[in-house]
């Protein structure tokens, strides 16, 4: 049992209702049923006020109204499936003639070419990922510096952290997901991944089997994104990951995209996850995961923590 399951199990234990509480609830319900019957009203078709005693009337009207409002809200919350922006986040228009494979292959070439311009990678002290997160209409700032041994310094206004930068990660925990492999990858494990797409694709596919994304393609897409987002993946690995992504069936080009910093890129979507990249330089601009959007203002090697 992991830490999350332990917390959920501990907090899920509650006392049963008392006999008095059970009787009181039943009495209130019976009173409402009695009122409805004596007034000979088909309950659901009449105004709520006619159905229940005066003491309960106000509460029930509000509850039913809230239910209707909440039901409407529930259909739009998922965001991506309804193509609504998360909290005003700019969302791409549906128009393009290029294929996802073409975009990824352009990005792969650019990622490879960018190698010489990386500031000291992979010998820099930290991998920094600075992002703006939009979730439920609120904007948060997230900035993380990941050291070679897996230690991280994190600032995240969306988490319940004490003010200021915090060292939060256990040594060696690493970052980035590899499908069904438990936990997060270390830098060493990320370095060890093959950068030949012909070898990387079957490895990623193997670790994607069993993920609950509805199809192997969606699971593989999620695995690829897990290695691209907020990880110290090398330019060579990014090139290979883009090559693998180019062959995932069903990834759709969602059109041109301009993020909150005015940068233009191309949005690519499969299932509920969207990646926005600039194919001209291979840069990852944003990741939209269902109803949460991250705009990456910087991802790269740095030599000092804040």
């Amino acid at each position: 049992m992991n830490a999350l399951d332990e917390l959920l199990a501990s907090t899920g234990r509650v006392e049963d209702i008392t006999p008095d509480g059970l009787r009181n609830g039943r009495a209130a319900l019976e009173s409402t049923i009695h009122d409805a019957r004596t007034q000979q009203a088909p309950a659901p078709e009449r105004p709520a006020a006619a159905l229940r005693s005066a003491s309960l009337r106000g509460k029930i009207i509000v509850a039913c109204t809230a239910a209707a409002v909440a039901a409407v809200a529930m259909t739009v919350v998922p965001g991506l499936s309804s193509r609504r922006p998360a909290g005003g986040y700019p969302y791409p228009a549906q128009s393009t003639a290029v294929t996802a494979a073409f975009v990824f292959r352009e990005a792969a070439k650019a990622a490879k070419a960018a190698d010489a311009h990386q500031r000291g990678w992979p010998h820099a002290a930290y991998w920094q990922a600075d992002s703006i997160e939009v979730r439920a209409g609120k904007t948060y700032h997230r900035d993380i510096w990941i050291a070679h041994n897996g230690d991280a310094v994190l600032e995240d206004s969306g988490l319940q952290l004490p003010p200021g930068p915090q060292k939060v990660s256990p040594p060696g925990s690493g970052f980035g997901f590899l499908g069904t492999k438990p936990g997060w990858l270390t830098w060493g494990e990320i370095y060890a991944l093959p950068t030949d797409p012909a070898k990387l694709a079957p490895l990623l596919t193997r670790y994607s089997r069993g993920l609950a994304y509805g199809s192997l393609a969606k699971s593989l897409w999620s695995t690829v994104l897990g290695l691209l987002v907020e990880t110290p993946a090398s330019p060579a690995l990014r090139e290979a990951l883009y090559d693998v992504a180019a062959n995932i069936p069903g990834v759709a080009v969602n059109g041109d995209y301009t993020d909150s910093l005015g940068r233009r890129g191309t949005a690519l979507t499969l299932g509920e996850e969207t990646l926005v990249i600039d194919p001209a330089n291979g840069q990852l601009l944003a990741w939209i995961d269902a109803d949460v959007a991250y705009t990456y203002t910087f991802q790269g090697p740095v030599n000092s923590e804040p």
Binding site: D5, G21, S81, G158, Q160, V168, S173
Partner: protein, 197 residues
């Protein structure tokens, strides 16, 4: 089959034309609905809200749409979720509503023996959308299957499975990065000052 021995599916099917079957559903499911409410709002508020859930069910019974599981619980949990939201928005719980429209976290923390663990679940779940958090809790706390939880939330079953997986992943990541007492987590700031446990 009559009375309390009728399966939920039959009772639900009879709801549009009858009032009494809601009482049968109460006898059968009030304890589970109470636990749902108590996990999120504490036992005292849960007792107050329990009858509201079933009265709202009575009122909304013609809008009920039959689902695969045959159990009335997903439908009742969906109503309870809306009743809770309203509770947290209203005056009786204004101080809670200011922090979280769907949860009294003090009531949640009160169920943790170790003081150091208090706040950790909130930290982990605060990175999730309200819908994903509810999905995760319906499965973990209420013991629903992902398909039943999908019924509560009005989403597709396949989407529920992928969202559940993603929610767990994201919550675990947040927990891993923010839990102050998980060894060997460092609890010092970068300036070397000690953080409160």
């Amino acid at each position: 089959m009559t009375g309390p021995h009728r399966p939920d599916s039959e009772i639900l099917a009879s709801l549009p034309g009858e009032l009494e079957p809601v009482g049968v559903l109460y006898e059968r499911h009030a304890p589970a609905v109470f636990r749902y409410l108590a996990r999120r709002a504490g036992p005292s508020a849960a007792e107050d809200l329990l009858s509201e859930v079933f009265i709202a069910a009575l009122h909304g019974r013609t809008r009920f749409v039959a689902h695969d599981s045959g159990s009335a619980l997903p439908w009742l949990y969906g109503i309870a979720m809306n009743v809770l939201r309203q509770h947290f928005r209203q005056g009786a719980a204004q101080w809670v509503a200011a922090e979280d429209p769907g949860m009294d976290w003090d009531a949640v923390d009160a169920r943790l023996d170790a003081e150091a663990k208090r706040g950790q679940l909130r930290s982990a779940l605060t990175v999730l959308s309200e819908g994903d958090r509810e999905l995760l809790l319906l499965v973990a706390w209420e013991g629903l299957t992902p398909a039943e939880a999908a019924e509560v939330l009005g989403i597709g079953k396949v989407a529920a499975r992928s969202r559940l997986h993603r929610a767990r992943r994201r919550a675990l990541q947040a927990l891993d990065r923010s839990a102050p007492d998980r060894p060997p987590v460092e609890v010092t700031t970068v300036t070397g000052r000690e953080m409160p446990a």
